[in-house]
Subunit: 155 residues, 2 copies
């Protein structure tokens, strides 16, 4: 790892090593705060900005990507060999992964049609998980929209 970073012009430090290791132990969808807490369990002297900067570095060297789910918190997801999508429960915020090999194929094709150079694909299903659905805690009182409403509105 040290070698790997040095070839990119980055130096290795005790903090960095701890942060990198902790990140991969946490594994999925890690927020700055979560990683900060994890790191602090071992070394209380590590600063928040150092954790933040190293999370950015992990992305820069291609080991993770940022994930934004609209709850205002940026999470960092390790890069997996096989791409995956996310099932995001809008009630309990739980996140599940599912495989998207077939879909990515279609998307790559689409990108080609638009002469677009894809860097990565984001595939998310937002909704409510089994538990939340069952608990009936979800109050979906969204107005029933009709084509007329929209048309009317548009003029």
């Amino acid at each position: 790892m040290k070698e790997f970073l040095r070839t990119k012009g980055f130096k290795m430090t005790p903090q960095r090593e701890l942060i990198f290791r902790s990140f991969f132990e946490l594994g999925e969808h890690v927020s700055v705060d979560e990683l900060y807490d994890k790191v602090r369990e071992i070394d209380k002297s590590v600063g928040y900005s150092t954790v933040w900067r190293n999370l950015k570095l992990i992305c820069k060297v291609g080991l993770a990507i940022e994930v934004n789910l609209g709850d205002g918190i940026t999470r960092y997801d390790r890069v997996t060999k096989i791409p995956h999508g996310h099932l995001y429960c809008m009630n309990c915020k739980k996140l599940e992964e599912f495989s998207v090999e077939q879909i990515v194929g279609l998307l790559a094709e689409t990108a080609g049609n638009y002469k677009f150079a894809p860097e990565n694909f984001k595939i998310e299903i937002q909704g409510y998980c089994v538990d939340c659905k069952a608990d009936n805690k979800v109050n979906i009182d969204k107005a029933s929209v009709t084509a007329e409403n929209v048309t009317e509105m548009k003029q």
Copy 2:
């Protein structure tokens, strides 16, 4: 429209009418600031928070959904009869839409497998558009990641 809102318990006001109309004139991927400016062209007395609140209302009644592309700015996208995905250029921030009927089918199926109640699907391709690719302005010096790096890191 007034009728439509009243049945939901909302009142109609001059500001609201102007904001709603302006939103649908702008059409796609509207940010609060953009809408605020557009509204202000016609009525300088309308406040920012009123624009913001009405954008939220437009979502609540199901006429738009929030879109977060990771650039820190929330955009509001009108709801379309046929679902669409987004091609997002990480360089010039341009946004193009493409149809995703087939993909949504697969996603609905996936949701079913997880007993998940989907509310909406987010399908994005992040990368670089033709122009930015051609201009060679894009400096992709992302480290070439190998499986070994990751494995090594993980232990």
